[in-house]
Symmetry: C2
Subunit: 416 residues, 2 copies
Amino acid sequence: MEVMNFLNEITSRHPEAISFGPGRPYEGLFEVERIGEYLDAYIRHLCDNLGRTREEVRTLLFQYGRTSGHLQELVARTLRNDEGIQAGPESIVVTVGCQEGMFIALRALFAGPSDVLLVSSPCYVGITGAARLLDIETVPVPEGEDGIDPGALRRTVTTLRAVGKRPRALYVVPDFSNPTGTCLTLAARRRLLELAEDEDLLLLEDNPYGFFTRTGTCRPTLKALDSQRRVIYLGSFAKTCFPGARVGYVVADQQVQTRDGRCTLLAEELSKVKSMVTVNTPALSQAVIGGMLMTHGYRLREASKAATDFYRENLTVLLDCLERLLPPSRREAAGVQWNSPEGGFFLTLSVPFPADNALLEESARDYGVIWTPMSYFYPDGGGRYQMRLSLSCLTPDQVAEGARRLVSLLDPSATR
Amino acid sequence: MEVMNFLNEITSRHPEAISFGPGRPYEGLFEVERIGEYLDAYIRHLCDNLGRTREEVRTLLFQYGRTSGHLQELVARTLRNDEGIQAGPESIVVTVGCQEGMFIALRALFAGPSDVLLVSSPCYVGITGAARLLDIETVPVPEGEDGIDPGALRRTVTTLRAVGKRPRALYVVPDFSNPTGTCLTLAARRRLLELAEDEDLLLLEDNPYGFFTRTGTCRPTLKALDSQRRVIYLGSFAKTCFPGARVGYVVADQQVQTRDGRCTLLAEELSKVKSMVTVNTPALSQAVIGGMLMTHGYRLREASKAATDFYRENLTVLLDCLERLLPPSRREAAGVQWNSPEGGFFLTLSVPFPADNALLEESARDYGVIWTPMSYFYPDGGGRYQMRLSLSCLTPDQVAEGARRLVSLLDPSATR
């Protein structure tokens, strides 16, 4: 990913700069010692709860495994507890991170050259990159302040149909999206689901940040509201457990017809694709994540409380600092504004001059602060005057100091 | 994979049957207890040999990691020791099993609709399946007794060029191939490399079984003989360490031009593709495999001695039993013959009647023995009168009893 390479490169040249760049989770909450503990918990579960023999455990950990994974029952319980999502284990495929989930979902759903994937603009680069690998056309739908606008979506669908295209699915991050930090209102969620039903669209819901609320408000996921099986839910344990496990999953409970006319679950079709990409998700990674789910009583929302508090504080500190250093009159004079995300890792800052690589270079070198040009996230151009600020892997002190440095870049008069 | 599903289904209906079906490695040599030991060994390596801090180890195990992996140096040492392959760490990409290696190599190499992948016929279904997912045309090249025939390959290439196709690469398993068990002679290896150079072909060399010699003969890999960088080497730890780790790698030391005209290694292009498929290979899996490589002094050939002995005995027992139960006169009368693989997991048995699903059903039900119809491995039809026998996950006693049962199916007079 071009944006990551550029960020890594600039970071290595300016190691002392405070970086609002990477969207990685905070590492202070990871404990190496606990890996063995989680693994043991999972092995005990296999033996004590499921009655597996020692030989069967050995097979499960060492041998090739089922393509769809061996955590589906545990994931289903956790989804029920955390999100009120009712999904049978047979509709779940465990994947090598959410990225593989997106990849196999796209490959299974998109058949012909007229099929089009709709994405918000700006958009997470993992989905547009996966679509590009598979030669799938993506069409951007502009975001408003509260995320993707159902009205704009309907107009885009109509326009596409008029030229013979088939809008197949919309990729959407309803909660605290990457890159903008926006969150869909409950009304917008309902309208999106109605629209999906009316227009025969599927919704690819990606929800890595949903637990990390700043305001305390949590809205139901699209999948929890989905009575018509319009939503394919892309799950990630990267931010709620840890990214290095590379364990994600897809909930695909749609009925589909196979080529030979059989009726089956979409999850089964995804498994077939996955068998030719990675065969199955590494058993050890699944076992450690399984152990974490068990240890936390199949409730990751509660288990993520420390992380939620951490990100809330960071986002609050950032908003407070910006407010204090650039009060309304001053930010109006400077031509700067930002949104106030209700949670998540990201905030959008708008500036009156191009927030491009050249400015980033100057910012890192002369002001000691790094951010991501928002233009990288626009599939169709745009975002030239915006920055993405990520606060997920800084301490609150670093956030405060980073905000100060950023303001001296934006408005040199502010911190004098 | 259709063949696997059918085999699994028939096995579950006839659990008492002896199965020459699956090509999984033998599990008796796996030790659950050692997982922690290998993990610790790798962590010690990071701290003691590489001077990493506790925090850096935590980051490596828990965080997103480099797309190309963190085992390249260890893999390069092991390849040097085991195969005499000289490959710099920068030319290696660690993958989620060899399957992902095949997948990303195909995606990176095949650009246009006239690009064609050549495969042996019969052929491993993992490569043809990956090509199908990516809409890449495959063209089969018939195998002879010693594997793919360079002469037939040259004729196929000429024919394809005449109709405007561009043969881009040949997928080949030179040692004890799946499904037939054939092995390329040294002369054929050299001719294949010459032909690749003459015809501007790449060779995708897949080598999962190379250590498992029955006769003691080991031939150099294509990559070890490759002075012109014609070979992309697809590595697997599934049979030398364990499949559940899902750790493989690709050696791609070719110089290529990027779209923007830069000169780079093919490995770097593979990494870009991988970043959109799985982001990176799970750190825990890499760490356990890394620990195994270290523990074995970066020499898997020696460490695989017990496995090599095991598979040798099984193959010897199978060949001896067939020879004893069906001596030349009798097998001639019965119209049955088989090859004598020099190693590996597989043997080809030819019979005078269709070795199809119906016969397999009868074989499992009435004779208590399961095998794989060879036709599943022919991309273009063929193999109707052949069976693949796999002996990798049976005990020698089971192999002997399985052979007896098989012979009573083939020649009811033989065992009376």
